[in-house]
């Protein structure tokens, strides 16, 4: 795990290699995170994977986050691991909500890490984030006919009101 100065060194080298690719970093609870311009996510992941001295060759997880009401609203997290040094680093692509029925888009990293295939499908399934260049972007857990992105914060929870004796008179037509 790179410490805070180490994280800044990585961010500085990344900014030298790809200008404006790393708008920010944070280091909390011993975890290092690079906040990355989503347009350059592939360049950053490639650099972290292939640069001698970095070599984060293992993508252990891809997951989506909905930060509503913050902006930018969405985040896609890539948890990278160097198995020689047992070092982990997190890359967060901060995605703005395009609004309306439009879906946020991001480049797919299946070409870099084949394991991202199913995980990007899962992020698409639950958050509606489209991965450009994904070989087979379909829903993976929800039924394919499902409508909506159920883990977004503005998605209704669903279910039905639970009727107990103390509130059954509030539910019309229940007791008659």
């Amino acid at each position: 795990m790179p410490d805070a100065p180490g994280l800044e060194l990585i961010a500085g080298e990344l900014r030298d290699a790809h200008p404006n690719s790393v708008p920010g970093t944070y280091h909390e609870h011993g975890q290092a995170c690079l906040i990355v311009d989503p347009e350059q996510i592939l360049a950053v992941l490639t650099w972290l994977r292939d640069t001698p001295g970095q070599e984060y060759r293992f993508l252990s997880s891809v997951h989506g986050v909905d930060y509503l009401p913050a902006t930018p609203r969405f985040g896609v997290h890539y948890e990278l691991l160097n198995r020689d040094r047992m070092e982990r680093i997190r890359v967060r692509a901060a995605l703005a909500d395009p609004g309306g029925d439009e879906l946020p888009e991001l480049d797919s990293c299946v070409g870099l890490f084949p394991t991202a295939d199913f995980q990007e499908r899962e992020v698409y399934d639950f958050f509606g984030i489209v991965f450009r260049g994904h070989p087979d972007l379909r829903r993976i857990l929800m039924p394919e006919v499902y409508v909506g992105w159920p883990l977004r914060r503005d998605f209704p929870i669903g279910g039905e009101p639970v009727i107990f004796t103390h509130n059954e008179h509030q539910v019309p037509g229940w007791s008659q």
């Binding site: 857990l141 929800m142 039924p143 499902y146 909506g148 159920p150 998605f155 209704p156 929870i157 669903g158 279910g159 039905e160 639970v162 004796t165 103390h166 059954e168 008179h169 007791s175 008659q176």
Partner: protein, 257 residues
Amino acid sequence: MRREKLRGLAPLTEPGSPEHLRIRQLRARDLLRGDLDDSELVEHAERSVLTTTFDKLLGWAASNSMFPLTFGLACCAIEMIAAVGSPRNDQARFGAEALRASPRQADFIILSGRVSIKMAPVVRRLYDQMLEPRWAISMGACSSSGGMFSNYAVVQGADKFMPIDIHIPGCPPRPEALFYGFNKLQRAIQGSPDQGWRRRYNAIGTEEWARDDVIAGQPSEASEAAYARARQAVATSAESTGPEGPGGPTQRGAGTH
């Protein structure tokens, strides 16, 4: 060759003896041949034959040889396996231990766990593939009502997409509760559903419909009258059956403590 009747044989004086058994066998043979008549026939029938309706006989046989479908959905399935398969609980006592791996051979299905919206079509297809007569038990809170999973992924009660005969509450239900529900199903199959725990605990009149208006404020005349009628029914049934009668299981076992 002329068949000889059994008129000359000795009366059934010594029950349990080999001769007694032999005589009964021969009389049963004569009954089938049609050689018995009049008083002999009546006597033999009274001794040996139980009359009932075919429906009752069929229900009795069917309810005591139920084949469950080998099927589990979630954590309730672990409890169901412990109930059906383990010698501690042993559903074989009720003739329902033979799990069938094919819905074509199964008599009933136990929905043991939450039904997700992706699993619901599969469950429905399994139920449709079962042959009539078929039954379904909804085991636990989740498959009965969605339980704690009030969210986007879980069907809020399996009876939204298939008929359910017995709902068993619990999270998960204990094996005893599962057996109680299964016994209820057996009684329903035999065509004599009993009044359940309200009768057993002398709790008739506590149904929620009788308390509708109490929740809103004052009890109405209708609910008061329903309550009085129910108490009256309990009182008369206790009088008519007596302490050892079949209708008064509250008193049953009073001397054993």
